[in-house]
Chain length 339, copies 2
Amino acid sequence: MRGTVLERPGEIRLEQRPDPTIVEPSDAIIRLSATCICGSDLWPYRGVDAATGPSPMGHEYCGIVEEVGPDVSIISTGQFVVGSFFASDNTCEICRAGYQSSCIHREPVGAIGTQAEYARIPLADGTLVATPEVPPDDLVPSFLAASDVLGTGWFAAVAAEAGPGTTVVVVGDGAVGLLGVMAAKQLGAERIVIMSRHESRQQLAREFGATDVVPERGDEGVAVIKELTDGLGAHSVIEAVGTRESMLQAIGACRPGGHVGYVGVTHGDLPGRELFFSHTHLHGGPAPVRRFLPELMELISNRTIDPGRVFDLTLPLEDVAEGYRAMDERRAIKTLLCL
Amino acid sequence: MRGTVLERPGEIRLEQRPDPTIVEPSDAIIRLSATCICGSDLWPYRGVDAATGPSPMGHEYCGIVEEVGPDVSIISTGQFVVGSFFASDNTCEICRAGYQSSCIHREPVGAIGTQAEYARIPLADGTLVATPEVPPDDLVPSFLAASDVLGTGWFAAVAAEAGPGTTVVVVGDGAVGLLGVMAAKQLGAERIVIMSRHESRQQLAREFGATDVVPERGDEGVAVIKELTDGLGAHSVIEAVGTRESMLQAIGACRPGGHVGYVGVTHGDLPGRELFFSHTHLHGGPAPVRRFLPELMELISNRTIDPGRVFDLTLPLEDVAEGYRAMDERRAIKTLLCL
């Protein structure tokens, strides 16, 4: 099969790789319906996260089950399924508490690489969620978005306790931030402020439910948020970038007693004293997408939400390298790779 | 009147200072029934927090109202009252959300200094809570504890979501940590682990409700907590020290999806990536003691709890310098100063 490999920072290649096979009895093999490139794939692509030699890439996926191992009993061949970037048993105490991405048996799907034609998914019964029927093609991008960016934006909004009557600020206008706007809207937020200086992203944010746009950043951005909120700060802040600066912006924009939901992989240290006196709640980490998948897949199936709109570039898998370049240069929000 | 002043790090003096008077119409003047020394007073005493010249000391207090300003209508002279280390209006949106220590009109009582015979308390109606009658003398130490260390330990336990069925770990065996144990017990925790290597403190922790004692610290301590909790970590962790090391110990001891309540003033930076992947909830800051005062004062009045037991050294106010030395050298958990 063909699969994507990061040879070294900046160098993406589509290579011929062995077809995946059942390794553990709880595995499934899926044929990808589509795959895509994640903002977090840019960390190793840019050399910010050190890679240890050539690495298979991709951790977002949806597709048709081709084969299942002997211990798989819930998922069956022919089903259309969506899974998350951490395989999870969905039965351990941590999974049952809703933290499947910290499952005691979790396995990173990114180590397998889903920017490919086929993928082996571990712990298939716990990891995969099937639709009742194979969905129409036009819904595939939205199901693919549910695999990571939608689930991550949703978790951030839940962690930030977005809900009726709240003002929600979203730091980061990438796909996760934009879908954080969508999640906040679905969760009933009263006012949703996107911090963005890119017109096309501002526009999509407004279509997803943003009521205000703040282009300022850092301390200046925090000051504008304070002005918009009677000097208090927002009830809920979604952080979807992952730098020290974006975390400080998120914490600064939040009122005492408010909630920051952070899902950008935090790079750098946080000043303890500033965090202490901010009086905020801080919760985040790798999104337990599996917790939300049944609900999100239902909302997609009945066309209540259309998260696939974050894909503003569609390329065939063979053009994956151009897909990375377009995202790296911010010419694209998110690249869908069709098969 | 006589009042305590930190001349420079390590040098505490009881000095003759002007009697306080009503400055703002919302002020009250109280005659202290007793006062005490806080663990956080040791930061400037030790020179860790820079002082800008001689500073009045003390922010814990209970006493009899001597005089009130013309705008004070709830509190009246002759009442026995307890207040917190931040004066608060108790009416703004932040106060109503339960974060009185971030009140939009807050004033630090520490700037006034309550290790003295009298104190001016700003925003008296919002800040002070009165008992129905002047309580018997033997309850004064417990009411004094409610002013800060009990309220702070209680907030930490609430922030850590200690409750029925939970395992709670307490990092720090000072007065706040010990009263965090008491709070966790009152909130219904099933198992309470104190991390302590001091026998007298371990003993008091057990009397307050601790079920387990772990003397190990750092990574070794985290490993012991993991062993005690099926490899998962505790549901709830109270952090009551305020160093980078103690924060990492607290975060490490907490399970994914668990809650860390931190009330030690955090000194140093927190590693973002470690926090991210811990998957914990982090909440804390200066305790909104005012939120809890009515409930805590009721529990003290009806003798359900006896937090005054954390005072293991009682000295007359004139020996305040010895009180600081005893706490600095860890000869005393907490010093009560009688008047």
